[in-house]
């Protein structure tokens, strides 16, 4: 089984793949496990959110439990979920602009272990380039011209994936970033209806473009709301139902990361993870996977392991953004 190509498709192929999708207004609520079965080994999966924000942890949890292999994973910035994807064998190829738990915890020793030993690949693009690649994919164009990455090593290491041109209008040098159209996008939101209309509060990151660019979108949501509520404030809808293929209600679906306005990161849990993987990257992450990903019976069981005290504390801090 090969890896997904992450270079642009011909327009005909892009259109054909979209044409056969069921884009009608239909109910698509399902379980985490059902949604996980949509993803095939070897696919390119894009992850919404950024660093520790609105990471679709519940869906990644289900993917890791389902035993998927050799996914190519892309994301704006990758945090602890990248360690878990490498260590579980779900992905051996991550495309992103930055990969580590977060600056306050120091460099990810798990990322170092897997990349320095050539077990897995960390393909690095600049942050804006990641965004523009998704945006080109969302717009149905094969590339986006940009001024970034020129002259740098970042450009050189992806030289087989980029083109340069001289602008026919201005004679400026431009880099043409290849469109990124993921096979599946995983996006966690505060609220969505059963059709997949999603309303996001606060930071949007690259989620709108990722949803438009992907061939399939799996939404997890803190709460499924009525379509009536969506239609009362249509200018708050950020992802339209017609791009969405699955909707899963997953309360605390980004824990131990944050979900804007709902909960902040679970700092002590994340601190303990960082400490354990600093001591021993391989054993530390394996133990974490067993305890939090493989052994729990279900998502509620996982949340119980995080602990009610932590859930309440993260929620209290999270809600302070709207109720200070």
């Amino acid at each position: 089984m090969g890896h997904a190509s992450t270079l642009p498709k011909t327009y005909q192929k892009l259109r054909d793949e979209t044409a056969v999708r069921d884009r009608s207004l239909r109910e698509k609520v399902m379980t985490l496990e059902e949604a996980a079965s949509f993803v095939s080994d070897g696919e390119h999966v894009a992850i919404g959110g950024c660093t520790m924000s609105r990471t679709p942890i519940a869906m990644l949890w289900a993917l890791i439990r389902s035993g998927r292999r050799k996914l190519t994973v892309s994301r704006s910035i990758v945090s602890t979920e990248g360690d878990l994807l490498y260590a579980s064998g779900v992905s051996d190829h991550i495309i992103t602009s930055w990969f580590s738990q977060g600056i306050v915890w120091g460099i990810s020793q798990v990322m170092r272990h897997f990349t320095e030993n050539h077990v897995a690949k960390f393909e690095e693009w600049s942050h804006m380039s990641m965004g523009l690649r998704y945006r080109a994919g969302a717009m149905g164009i094969p590339f986006m011209p940009t001024r970034s990455m020129l002259g740098s090593g970042v450009r050189d290491v992806v030289t087989e994936s980029v083109k340069e041109m001289i602008c026919p209008y201005t004679d400026d040098k431009l880099l043409l970033l290849p469109a990124l159209n993921p096979d599946t996008a995983l996006i966690h939101v505060q609220r969505a209806d059963k059709y997949g209309n999603a309303q996001l509060d606060g930071l949007q990151f690259m989620d709108l473009d990722i949803a438009m660019a992907a061939k399939r979108v799996i939404l997890t949501t803190e709460r499924i709301i009525s379509n009536d509520q969506i239609r009362r404030t249509p200018d708050q809808t950020k992802i339209p139902f017609l791009t969405v293929d699955a909707v899963v209600e997953a309360p605390f679906g980004a824990a131990p990361h944050e979900c804007y306005g709902n909960y902040e990161p679970f700092f002590s849990h994340l601190g303990a993870y960082a400490e354990a993987t600093r001591r021993d990257p391989v054993a530390g992450v394996e133990e974490y996977l067993n305890r939090y990903y493989r052994e729990p019976k279900n998502w509620a069981d996982y949340l119980s392991l995080l602990g009610v005290t932590e859930l309440l504390d993260a929620s209290r801090r999270g809600r302070s953004i709207v109720n200070d």
Binding site: I107, S148, M149, D172, L174, F205
Partner: protein, 255 residues
């Protein structure tokens, strides 16, 4: 190094960097010392400073004691004027709305190129670092202030890998590579403030912190570095230190 009884070297970096920022500027700030420095400037001499965060935040006021773990969490959005998608906040750089980018660095060379990707051979590195994030974009598209500890292993003749372009090979090479705008402006270390020669684009010493000698800077720099009418900076004031400590009471970024 002038780490005294009353401040750490991170506090020194934050304070010396903050002083370079001017009121009314639009500053793209990374997490850690840059965020602290920008916040400090905002509270002291630049109330109209506009801070941009990579996560998609324009013009926030970070709350004391609630420093974000990165530039991408809700703590970054306190009292912001606008929240926008990541790609769009980064495009403000490309469009030219940003005066200065401000970040830390792991390794820098004499032309101000920064490395935050690989220590050693990129195809078989000794250390795989976290990578560019928005660093490449910021340094490609606007004027840069970099703040970092002054150590020989960090100030190198040539970086192992150009994550964030400074002046590349010096002279006009940056513009020729397709980056006519921006470039390195200042490097703030715990020893000195450094600038770049307007023609050769080589790093030069512009000011020393109190008690630091030029030789000390040269000892901690692994390439030849010229000095340019050297001044001495003012020591951190109590006011600067107390505002910093108010913002980072747990010394997350100023340990």
């Amino acid at each position: 190094m002038i780490e005294g009884a009353n401040h750490t070297s991170s506090e020194l970096l934050a304070i010396m960097s903050a002083r370079i920022l001017r009121d009314g500027q639009v500053v793209f700030a990374g997490v850690g010392v840059p965020l602290l420095a920008a916040t400090l400037a905002q509270r002291l001499h630049a109330p109209g400073l506009t801070i941009l965060f990579e996560g998609g935040v324009l013009g926030p006021f970070v709350v004391p004691g609630e420093l974000p773990p990165s530039t991408n969490e809700q703590r970054c959005t306190r009292k912001a004027n606008m929240i926008l998608p990541i790609t769009d906040v980064l495009l403000l750089l490309q469009r030219g709305y940003v005066d200065v980018g401000f970040m830390g660095g792991a390794q820098i060379d004499k032309y101000g190129n920064l490395n935050s990707s690989y220590i050693g051979d990129p195809s078989n590195p000794k250390i795989r670092l976290p990578g560019t994030g928005g660093g490449n974009d910021i340094s490609s598209l606007t004027q840069m202030i970099v703040t970092m500890k002054h150590e020989r292993r960090r100030f190198v003749e040539k970086v192992d890998f150009v994550t964030s372009p400074g002046f590349l090979d010096g002279g006009t090479s940056r513009a020729e590579a397709g980056l006519p705008a921006g470039g390195m402006f200042k490097v703030v270390t715990d020893l000195a403030i450094l600038g770049f020669d307007p023609v050769t684009r080589e790093m030069v010493v512009e000011a020393l912190h109190p008690g630091v000698t030029l030789n000390e800077v040269r000892d901690n720099t692994s390439f030849d570095i010229k000095a340019n009418g050297i001044e001495t900076t003012e020591s951190p004031t109590d006011r600067e230190l107390s505002v910093l400590q108010e913002f980072d009471p747990d010394r997350i970024y100023t340990a």
